[in-house]
């Protein structure tokens, strides 16, 4: 486990990076607690929380509760209460997305495979960020593999500036969004290939290159970004129906659409 904390001056945020759930977790801190013991302790708690969640929900670990659930070795009642919470969120997301988001994905031979991963990431990071919200007079931006939740404790400090990656060239950014308190999540296939499928058809969504959703909680930013992406050419139309969501959609042809909250 390696942790790096870099702070060049009083203005630049201190940064921490570790890996869990196969993803890099990046934390930026500004304000009172950046490199002191309080900050390091909070960061350790964030990572500990995410590792606990990984132990429950990982579909890669055969001994996780979700893996055992998939093998019908146990029921939801045998799992920690977080499993029921996540499955409830998944069901809410399925209904609200008109089926574009589903924790039950088409499996081989017409079977259905339980995969709550689409809920877990945003939910877990938002949950883990709770300890950072307790830091007095401290701003944070906590990112898990490109999805983040942010807080600015002092309005005199600048908003966090979040760059939105160009899906055609991940080395560049297409847009910048200033965030004080809120979350940003992007779904696309730039780094992992076609891993996003339409649970209703099993096919890959078409027409859209990436969808970024900005809203108050990372739980729903992450879910809605995935759901909107799966809606493909209808991504903007669906996102417009969602309360309090700001969207930034990059289409396959490189054109973009902003969706403003209602």
């Amino acid at each position: 486990m390696t942790t790096t904390a870099v702070q060049r001056d009083g203005i630049s945020p201190a940064r921490y990076v570790e890996h869990v759930m196969g993803m890099p977790i990046s934390l930026a801190l500004r304000g009172r607690h950046t490199r002191d013991d309080v900050a390091r302790s909070a960061w350790a708690q964030v990572m500990s929380e995410l590792q606990t969640v990984d132990g429950i929900f990982s579909t890669y670990r055969p001994d996780s509760f979700v893996s055992r659930l998939r093998r019908d070795e146990i029921t939801v009642q045998d799992c920690p209460p977080e499993v029921a919470e996540v499955l409830a969120l998944g069901e809410a997301a399925r209904i609200e997305s008109r089926g574009a988001f589903d924790v039950h994905l088409p499996g081989p031979g017409g079977s259905t495979v339980l995969d709550p991963s689409g809920v877990v990431k945003g939910w877990a990071v938002e949950r883990a960020a709770a300890v950072l919200r307790q830091l007095t007079d401290t701003d944070f931006c906590l990112s898990a593999g490109g999805d983040m939740t942010c807080r600015t404790a002092d309005d005199t400090r600048p908003a966090w500036r979040i760059g939105i990656e160009d899906p055609a060239d991940p080395a560049r950014v297409l847009a910048v969004v200033p965030i004080r308190n809120g979350a940003v999540a992007t779904s696309g296939t730039a780094h992992r290939g076609s891993h996003l499928i339409d649970p209703r058809t099993g096919g890959a969504p078409a027409g859209v290159a990436s969808v970024t959703v900005i809203t108050d909680s990372l739980t729903w930013a992450d879910i809605d970004a995935t759901a909107a992406y799966v809606h493909g050419a209808n991504a903007a139309r669906w996102l417009e129906t969602r309360p309090g969501r700001t969207g930034f959609i990059v289409w396959s042809d490189g054109s973009t659409t902003n969706v403003v909250p209602r």
């Binding site: 919470e85 960020a129 593999g145 979040i162 760059g163 990656e165 991940p170 992007t186």
Partner: protein, 181 residues
């Protein structure tokens, strides 16, 4: 742990039967704030979709009240007294009681149409110190005229398709983390 399961099941069944509802009209007040400043640059082909009304045309109640409802996060379980604005019996939104879980309060809201649940919203769930802080979700992404490097955009973090640990080394975020910009 059985408690939460019971809560979830109980909420969905009991709440529909017992509680009143408020209409989609009343919930509109929640989503009406559009006080953002549009600093969008129309350099790249940009389609502003701000003026588009509800194009779904399905006439079903929306859950626009969700963002407003999460501002209070009581630390102890409380029983909400759902609003009871009466219009048509066909469409209604019902809000469940707040269940206190290990992590904090959880509350679910249902939209019911013709006796069937058409949507479920988790309007409150544990989030640390609640949602009392101002949320600036209205902040619009500002398009950059030409795509530029992270340094010249002065960004703190990069949002993009999920980066794996393997891919992280070459990612923009990695550069930002290392530079401590």
């Amino acid at each position: 742990m059985k408690r939460i399961v019971m809560f979830l099941m109980g909420t969905i069944t009991v709440v529909v039967l017992l509680f009143g509802y408020h209409t989609s009209t009343s919930s509109k007040a929640a989503g009406g704030e559009t006080a953002f400043v549009s600093t969008l640059q129309a350099g790249v082909a940009t389609t502003s979709t701000s003026a588009v009304p509800d194009t779904t045309g399905q006439g079903k109640p929306t859950t626009a009240s969700t963002t407003a409802s999460v501002t209070s996060a009581p630390a102890t379980p409380t029983t909400t007294s759902p609003t009871t604005a009466t219009t048509t019996a066909a469409n209604s939104t019902v809000t469940g009681t707040v269940a206190d879980t290990r992590w904090g309060p959880v509350q679910v809201q249902l939209s019911v149409q013709g006796g069937k649940i058409t949507s479920v919203s988790v309007i409150q769930y544990p989030n640390g110190n609640g949602r009392d802080e101002e949320i600036n979700a209205q902040a619009l992404p500002i398009l950059i005229q030409e795509t530029i490097s992270a340094q010249s955009a002065q960004i703190d973090m990069v949002s993009g398709a999920t980066v794996t640990s393997d891919g992280y080394v070459t990612s923009l975020q990695s550069a930002l983390d290392q530079a401590g910009l």
